[in-house]
């Protein structure tokens, strides 16, 4: 593995540690109980949901005009 391209870990690490505080570990634990295939199918469902939310949002903004 080529590690020569890695940016300074000392710079990145405090930022990553700060992000960890905001991560919902319960969602991760729920996912880890699923099989990899179940995780991908859940992702597709989430994508469909996000797509529907964007569509609804567009419709809402158009009605305001």
């Amino acid at each position: 593995m080529n590690t020569n391209q890695l940016p300074s870990q000392a710079t990145i690490d405090p930022v990553i540690e700060a992000y960890k505080a905001g991560i919902d570990v319960t969602l991760i634990r729920e996912n880890l109980r699923r099989t990899p295939e179940e995780r991908l199918l859940a992702l597709e469902q989430l994508q469909s949901f996000a797509q529907e939310l964007r569509r609804g949002g567009r419709e809402m903004r158009n009605r305001r005009r």
């Binding site: 593995m1 080529n2 890695l6 992000y19 991560i23 729920e30 996912n31 990899p36 992702l43 597709e44």
Partner: protein, 166 residues
């Protein structure tokens, strides 16, 4: 709308040598983050490029974000002249990468990958440690939260396997 099964099965049924990386690999490892495209690292031999073309042509690949009507021809010559391609297909967005930051080309990525069974086939998926290395190497702000989550997943997975061993 993404159909990961369709994309993956198309690649597998044509015998394409590739490894799943990026957000979908993160999902395979347990990520709860939303990703919208399938990223793969593909092997760059002429034979494999022909297999990529055979696999994806029925899915109508086109350059993502490019204006409609460009004279884009998805063939071996186009793949040979480029390295990374961000595509739309009728099964969803697909990124073809010739190399992965922090890891290397297909051969290097395959060395740090493992088998995963999905939709009735077995695929190569980058392992969690290498995925973290690649996200760190990319050094993009949007990857920092992903790295944070992946490191938590690694800790959680270790905790689960230690619990099951005791």
């Amino acid at each position: 709308m993404n159909n990961f099964a369709l994309l993956l099965n198309a690649l597998a049924s044509s015998g394409v040598s590739f490894v799943i990386i990026g957000g979908v690999a993160a999902t395979v490892h347990g990520s709860a983050r939303l990703t919208s495209d399938l990223d793969i690292v593909y092997e760059r031999s002429r034979e494999n490029l022909a297999r990529v073309v055979a696999a994806l042509s029925p899915l109508e690949p086109y350059l993502r974000g490019a204006p409609a009507g460009l004279p884009f021809k998805f063939d071996v010559e186009t793949l040979r002249r480029g390295l990374n391609f961000t595509l739309t297909t009728i099964a969803g967005p697909l990124d073809l990468l010739g190399e992965l930051s922090g890891v290397g080309d297909y051969r290097a990525v395959d060395e740090v990958s493992e088998d995963v069974s999905l939709f009735g086939s077995v695929y190569r998926c980058i392992n969690l440690d290498a995925l973290i290395v690649s996200k760190r190497a990319a050094g993009r702000t949007k990857d920092f939260e992903a790295v944070a989550e992946l490191e938590i997943i690694r800790d959680e997975a270790r905790g689960i396997s230690e619990d099951s061993e005791s």
